[in-house]
């Protein structure tokens, strides 16, 4: 028996353990022209670059290895950051437009596995392209002028970023449903990626960041020989990419899942995990000197506040009426799972979810600064979040608790921010008509969260707490209203969702 059939049989057996989407996608792109074309072009470009690199080496001027590697990274960046992500965008777009995604939904594959499978398939594509250019990259090393660590780290960082851009593409692709919009979006995404790579020159930036350890004029090895910077760059890039990729996958899953399913809990778990990671990282400074701890506490208040503001905008605004299937499942929960209800869908539970994380944030800040200094800033961050995300929602839910209006409420929250940023100055100039345009921070700006928080030392020194405290209290009251409305609607949903709800007579029919 020759080795070919045995290898194929082994591959066939091994493929049983792979995500079916990866197998399908790899089969599809190896059967299509697009991948063959881009792979062929990348090889041609690699060959040309290697040829010029060799020519420069013969003329013995400059650092041909460094130049060659830079050019090859540029080629890889073009394919990795533009061509492959566009393919990822198109893969999911086609799946939705051709209605094959629905067919997959009917199988035992979960939506998350579908998204992860699509992402992994792009990883296979990228690995193939990188492997195709590997001989030329090896040649750049042999030509001299660049060290192995720089090459390795540059490739790994580029691979991470390329995969991250693919995750962004998949998420963007999951947002659209109609053919016309998806065509427009495809063009816009393509243009955006192209501009990022070509105009902003991301690969060049990457390369120069990595090679700043020792740039030699001629023939000197370039890179961070012996330094730890490249590994830090790699660690930071991969950590950022992995964490945000998890969010992107969860967001895409949320968009692609059947509306009747619980699309919220995975997202809430993912974002809560991210928040807790941030808190854990900041708490790791607990044994450090006071200035370091103070900086860490401030960083937590700002980064955690930003994270919670974004999360609040999407969770508190959720509809209060649950999909029937979700409502039914929640009724069957054990008391232990009931305690995790804040991870379940619904604006009321969303408000509780945000408040729980605010408590963790405040506790972490308090641990870092036992004296209690800086707590006012953290309280103000939380108060403003409650006010701006809670008040429009509470006002609407008091009138129409059962209405499906998540999108409109998110728009309202977003619109209210610029309004309060501009309103104090507009009213001031309209009512008082001052002679000069004064943009300095003043009492009227206390309703603007950004300006107030940016000038917090001034707020503290002048004791201007009244307005932030009142706004915070109103925000907490608004959250209470949303939580109350959510509880009420949950009880009503439970009654409505009962399958034993009586059926009316006209539909009755016999058994056939």
């Amino acid at each position: 028996m020759s080795w070919h059939p045995r290898v194929f049989a082994w591959l066939e057996r091994a493929s049983d353990w792979l995500n079916p989407i990866v197998v399908k996608e790899v089969r599809q792109f190896t059967g299509g022209r697009e991948f063959h074309s881009s792979f062929g072009v990348s090889l041609m470009l690699g060959l040309c670059v290697a040829f010029f690199g060799a020519a420069e080496a013969i003329s013995a001027t400059g650092t041909p290895g460094r130049w060659t590697f830079g050019a090859l990274i540029g080629c890889l960046a073009f394919f990795g950051l533009v061509v492959v992500p566009l393919g990822a965008f198109n893969a999911l777009r086609t799946e939705r437009l051709e209605q094959t995604l629905e067919l997959i939904t009917l199988t035992t594959l979960s939506t998350r596995r579908v998204v992860i499978g699509k992402l992994l398939a792009q990883g296979v594509k990228l690995a193939t392209l990188f492997a195709g250019l590997a001989p030329f990259i090896a040649m750049s090393f042999l030509l001299g002028g660049i060290d192995f660590v720089t090459i390795l780290v540059s490739m790994l960082v580029l691979f991470s970023w390329a995969l991250w851009v693919c995750a962004v593409s998949l998420f963007l692709s999951s947002l659209i449903k109609t053919r016309a919009i998806s065509g427009l979006m495809f063009g816009a995404v393509g243009l955006m990626f192209f501009l990022v790579v070509v105009i902003l020159g991301v690969p060049q930036v990457l390369f120069f960041v990595l090679s700043r350890g020792g740039v030699g004029s001629t023939g000197v090895s370039v890179g961070f020989v012996g330094g730890s910077l490249p590994w830090w760059v790699l660690a930071m890039a991969t950590t950022f990419c992995l964490v945000s990729m998890m969010n992107l996958v969860l967001l895409a899953e949320n968009r692609l899942s059947v509306p009747s399913e619980n699309r919220v809990t995975p997202l809430r778990v993912g974002f809560a995990a991210q928040f807790l990671l941030l808190v854990a990282w900041v708490l790791s400074f607990i044994g450090e000197p006071v200035p370091t701890r103070t900086g860490a506490a401030e960083a937590l208040a700002v980064l955690g506040g930003l994270h919670l503001a974004l999360v609040a905008m999407f969770t508190v605004t959720e509809d209060l009426v649950l999909p029937r299937r979700v409502a039914m499942r929640m009724q069957e929960w054990s008391p232990v799972r009931q305690m995790l209800a804040i991870l379940s869908p619904g604006g009321g539970r969303g408000a509780l979810y945000v408040i729980a994380q605010m408590v963790i944030l405040l506790a972490a800040v308090r641990i870092l600064r036992p004296s209690g200094a800086g707590m006012g800033f953290s309280f103000a961050v939380c108060g403003y979040i409650c006010f701006f995300s809670g008040v429009p929602v509470a006002a609407f839910r008091l009138l129409r608790p059962a209405a499906a209006a998540a999108f409109q409420l998110r728009v309202a929250v977003l619109v209210s921010l610029p309004l309060v940023m501009a309103l104090p100055d507009i009213l001031y100039y309209m009512l008082w008509r001052p002679y000069s345009f004064d943009i300095n921070f003043a009492t009227r700006h206390l309703i603007n969260p950004f300006r107030t928080l940016a000038n917090w030392p001034l707020v503290e020194s002048k004791n201007l707490f009244a307005i932030p405290v009142v706004m915070g209290l109103i925000g907490v009251a608004a959250y209470s209203i949303v939580i109350g409305a959510g509880l009420k609607m949950t009880v009503e949903s439970a009654i409505e969702s009962s399958p034993s709800a009586p059926a009316r007579e006209p539909g009755r029919a016999d058994v056939y």
Partner: protein, 312 residues
Amino acid sequence: MSDAMLQLDGLVRHFDNVHAVDDISFSVERGKVLGFIGPNGAGKTTTMRMLATLETPQRGDARIGGYSVLDEPAKVRRITGFMPDSAGVYAHTTVTEYLDFFARAYHLRGAARREAVDSIIEFMGIGDLRDRNVERLSKGLQQRVALGRALVHDPQVLILDEPAANLDPRARIEFRALIRELAADGKTILLSSHILTELAEMCDAIAVIEKGRILATGTVQEILVRMRPRRTLSARFAGPSDGVERFLLEQPGVVNVHEAGGRMRFEFEGDDEAQAALVGRLIAGGFRILEFTAHGADLEDLFIAITKGRVQ
């Protein structure tokens, strides 16, 4: 005890002010084929999508093989094959790869997966298409592959939305045979179609839906009897038919006797037994019958009579 594989109980689904499905209930026994007919926008597809767990009913529930579509969608999906009205094919994928992918997606592994794909290819009679690109097949052949896809995990219940829409006459005949074979194999089938004559031949029963409500259910004959209690009969006699008209008018249940094209045509109110008795009396009365025909209304007449063509 009923052996209902498919049981709909008061299903309701509204989209804003449109009552797409409004309190639908019926059941289908194991191995039976139920035709689901109705005008466009009647609620057929929404009902089928609820059964396939793609939509959730706002009220009521449906059970497939005993599993609730509301509460146990994963179990329902394992025993249900759904074929929507669009085939849903992939580019750069052969027929074998297409079926193989769905077999993998249903967690079939190793030899079981290969056997499932091979047996579906054989059953569907698409062996010659094995290595053909599924995207380049004709719509009819794509439809056939799509049916294969719905069958690849050996479901007990099949839900087919307009499965014969793109088939040529020959393919339709083959499809009919395929459906009967699947039913004989114990599969329960719910299928919708606009080609009513075919449904009548394929289905054990039909359910007529309009504006989200079931208007009639039963076998075609049962509905026919319910809708039109009188059947139209005609007879041709050897020799002169003098006195036939008078004889017929004297028989119970016979009305509107008239001669048309050398045949006596009349309306008769009664069941099959009464009709047989009438034929017997004609023979006993000395009338030599050459032909005796029942002019039953077909499913199309029935459909027109039942529905009003109202859409929402």
